[in-house]
């Protein structure tokens, strides 16, 4: 890998040393072993909770939130350093629904009461969140959503269905987009509501992914009641909130870090002293790996330039770059998982779901490094689909960047 040299101020250098010392102490070998067995889009519920708690205790659970709301208050460079160091160490990929999606929405649109109640609980990990946007007939075309809510006194009554809801099985709260009006354009009748998962009438059905992992769910609402105070923003103005959140979802600004973490995993699979070192000696495989590394370096440079622009107060290309980065990150991630699967060859045929997600015992006949690649490959097919599919990102770029 080519390292990108950040020009660090003395404070930022000191900060980097802090992060390194923290990771060296807190990211223990046991946690590392658990993290290495993760194949999902996000680390599973138990590991996520554990790592989140450790970050919380250090005051780093929400790197991007302002200090006033209990965040770490990192500046853009520090966030970058933090993500990069975590990726190098191989820390778990934490779910985004609470800290990265709901939190910023509440900070931007929430009432003082909502902020006071929810933000500390997101930070502490007391509330795990999930995202209720998609519905069976509303995927890429989100505005087609039909899950509806009507006012009844000082309550909303919700009826309908959400689907593909990541980690609903671990969540305490769900934020949902609901239809509160059928007048005017579809976007004008949508509201953003906060719903406790234990509300009467709310039920969850698991959807098992093709890897055998249980990541996503259907969530059903049958006369679910929440107080009007759970509305975020104004009634029928939820689309603005939704879009604000989608932009955050698309551009994390730390795609290169995410990919470097995955490259680290791949490196372990093909390590010199392991049974799959042969892959790395194959010139075709080695060439594919080199190409990926170069693309990651380009992405990192691009993210870094964006960071400098943001630091200077320029935001002009921000949205365009968010789509470009989403496209890149998802494609490169998929290419990395293809290399993982190709490295282990025939062992890819063995179903490791019972070992990874159940109570199955790993076989002594199968090298431990062959456990995760297939599930990782299968799970990562989703990355070009969610958060705005690759086709949708290209549509956005055609319009926004090329004026087509």
């Amino acid at each position: 890998m080519i390292d990108i040299e950040l020009e660090l101020s003395p404070e930022d250098s000191a900060f980097r040393e802090d992060v390194r010392a923290f990771l060296a102490e807190k990211f223990t070998p046991e946690l590392r072993r658990e993290a290495e067995l993760q194949t999902g889009v996000f680390a599973d519920g138990a590991l996520s909770a554990k790592w989140h708690r450790i970050l919380f205790e250090r005051g780093w659970a929400a790197p991007g939130w302002p200090k006033a709301h209990g965040g770490a208050g990192f500046n853009a460079t520090q966030q970058y350093i933090f993500n990069d160091e975590c990726a190098r160490a191989g820390t778990p990929n934490l779910p985004v629904a609470g800290v990265r999606l709901c939190g910023p929405v509440l900070i931007e649109f929430g009432t003082p009461e909502q902020k006071d109640f929810f933000l500390p609980r997101i930070l502490s990990g007391e509330h795990v969140w999930c995202q209720g946007y998609s519905e069976p007939q509303a995927g890429s075309d989100l505005a087609a959503l039909e899950c509806k809510a009507h006012r009844d006194g000082d309550e909303y009554v919700i009826n309908g269905q959400k689907t593909w809801t990541t980690h609903a099985q671990f969540a305490d709260w769900i934020f949902v987009l609901v239809r509160t009006s059928r007048e005017g354009p579809r976007q004008a009748g949508i509201s953003f509501l906060l719903v406790p998962m234990d509300a009467p009438g709310l039920s969850v059905r698991p959807i098992v992914s093709m890897s055998g992992e249980h990541e996503v769910n259907e969530v059903f609402f049958d006369d679910v009641r929440v107080p009007v105070s759970n509305l975020v923003g104004e009634e029928n103005k939820g689309w603005n909130v939704a879009k604000f959140l989608l932009v955050n979802e698309r551009g994390s600004g730390s795609g290169a870090a995410y990919l470097k973490n995955a490259l680290g995993m791949l490196g372990k699979i093909i390590a010199d002293d392991g049974p799959f070192s042969g892959a790395a000696c194959d010139p075709v495989f080695a060439g594919r790996l080199a190409e990926i590394e170069i693309e990651v370096a380009a992405l990192e440079q691009s993210e870094h330039s964006l960071l400098e622009a943001i630091t200077r107060g320029e935001t002009a290309r921000g949205h365009t770059l968010a789509s470009i980065h989403k496209l890149h990150v998802s494609q490169i991630m998929q290419a990395i998982t293809e290399l993982e699967v190709d490295a282990i060859g025939a062992f890819a045929q063995i179903d490791q779901a019972p070992v990874l997600f159940g109570h199955g015992e790993a076989s002594a006949q199968v090298p431990p490094r062959a456990l995760t690649p297939v599930a990782h490959y299968l799970n990562m097919r989703a990355i070009t689909i969610f958060g705005g599919s690759s086709e949708v990102q290209r549509n956005i770029l055609a319009r926004a960047a090329l004026g087509l």
Partner: protein, 369 residues
């Protein structure tokens, strides 16, 4: 590969029969639901499993063409076991002209016995060195010791056909043995596969066999293992065509009925092109597979088989990825059929060495066609 009218008619009727039969029976042939009763019906009552075998064995003598038709249909219906092991490979390993061989094969063709080859010691043993599996042959018995990692279909086996190295024979050390799956000393560690079939890691611990277990010794044993593997490669390529055709059909169908932004997503040109690319890849895969089938009994066999496997592996990957992408989130759910085809396509890629291995073998084989 010129076919007579009569052969063509025979093959057409075979295709029709197998489609009809699998249409309402495939549930009991897939994965954990495998029913040996249904398998016997396919063999004995319907005579499908013998189609490729000589008439003397109750077959239609339709050879590789019959294998291809059956495998393609199995692919379409996700029946990933155990025809490839029990008929395609077994027929190349056993000698139809000798009594014992033809009896074993006839039983396999009737669906009464399932024969499972265990040739390479492990996935990395591509040259069948078989250093771990040793047979000590004495005047009155054979003693088998060793292990085989990753043997597909092994839990279904009534008999194993095992390639071993003869203790003390330096020049042509190989021997091919056939043995009952329940002989004392054989132990299995079973696993499920991503494509809902099964397999085992096998151990042979002081397995004592009668000398009649010997199928063939010396270079012929090795040659048969190589032929069986290339035959299996060409057959699994035909299965891949069925798998990919099913994925294309289901994807086109889904795209026509899935509405987003007020129109079926099939109307988006970028998806149309993607589906067209899928069909082009399948066409290419079909052609190279037909070519390889025609070369199976020629000196170009290995090169042609690798050419087919390399291209089919590439097609499998691309077509499967496109199919899931066009399905959106629905495509990643285990309960959606497309995800099961996706996993079968991936297993096919890896079953006999992946694309990189076959490209290498293609480049290393003498250039004759």
């Amino acid at each position: 590969m010129q076919q007579t009218d009569e052969q063509r008619e025979l093959l057409a009727s075979l295709r029709e029969l197998v489609e009809r039969v699998l249409g309402d029976r495939h549930e009991s042939l897939c994965g954990a639901g495998f029913s040996s009763e249904t398998w016997q019906t396919l063999g004995g009552e319907l005579g499908l499993l013998a189609a490729s075998l000589p008439e003397a064995m109750g077959g239609m003598a339709a050879g590789q063409e019959a294998d291809a038709i059956l495998m393609e249909a199995f692919g379409k219906h996700l029946v990933s076991q155990p025809y490839l092991s029990s008929v395609v490979m077994a027929a190349a390993l056993l000698d139809v002209s000798d009594d014992a061989g033809s009896q074993h094969l006839a039983a396999a063709a009737q669906g009464e016995a399932i024969l499972v080859p265990a040739l390479a010691d492990s996935p990395s043993d591509t040259q069948f060195a078989c250093v771990e599996t040793v047979a000590t042959i004495t005047d009155n018995e054979v003693l088998l010791q060793g292990s085989k990692v990753l043997v597909r279909d092994a839990p279904l086996a009534d008999r194993f056909i095992v390639l071993a190295r003869q203790d003390g024979a330096a020049d042509c050390p190989h021997v091919l043995l056939i043995l009952d799956a329940d002989v004392p000393g054989i132990s299995r560690e079973d696993f499920g596969t991503i494509d809902a079939a099964t397999g085992s890691h096998l151990r042979f611990d002081q397995v004592r066999l009668d000398r009649s277990a010997i199928v063939v010794r010396g270079s012929e044993a090795l040659e048969r293992a190589a032929l069986a593997t290339d035959s299996a490669i060409v057959a699994v390529c035909a299965e891949a065509i069925g798998v990919m055709q099913a994925m294309l059909e289901q994807t086109v169908e889904y795209a026509k009925q899935r509405v987003q932004f007020g129109q079926p997503i099939a109307g988006f040109q970028v998806l149309q092109h993607r589906m067209v690319d899928m069909s082009v890849a399948i066409e290419q895969a079909e052609s190279i597979t037909r070519l390889a089938r025609g070369k199976l009994l020629t000196p170009d066999r290995a090169k042609a088989a690798s050419a087919a496997m390399a291209l089919v592996a590439k097609a499998c990957r691309g077509v499967a990825q496109d199919a899931v992408q066009i399905h959106g989130a629905v495509g990643i759910a285990d309960e959606t059929p497309i995800s099961r085809y996706f996993r079968r396509a991936l297993a096919i890629e890896k079953q006999f060495g992946g694309k990189a291995y076959h490209l290498k073998r293609y480049m290393q084989s003498a250039d004759t066609f």
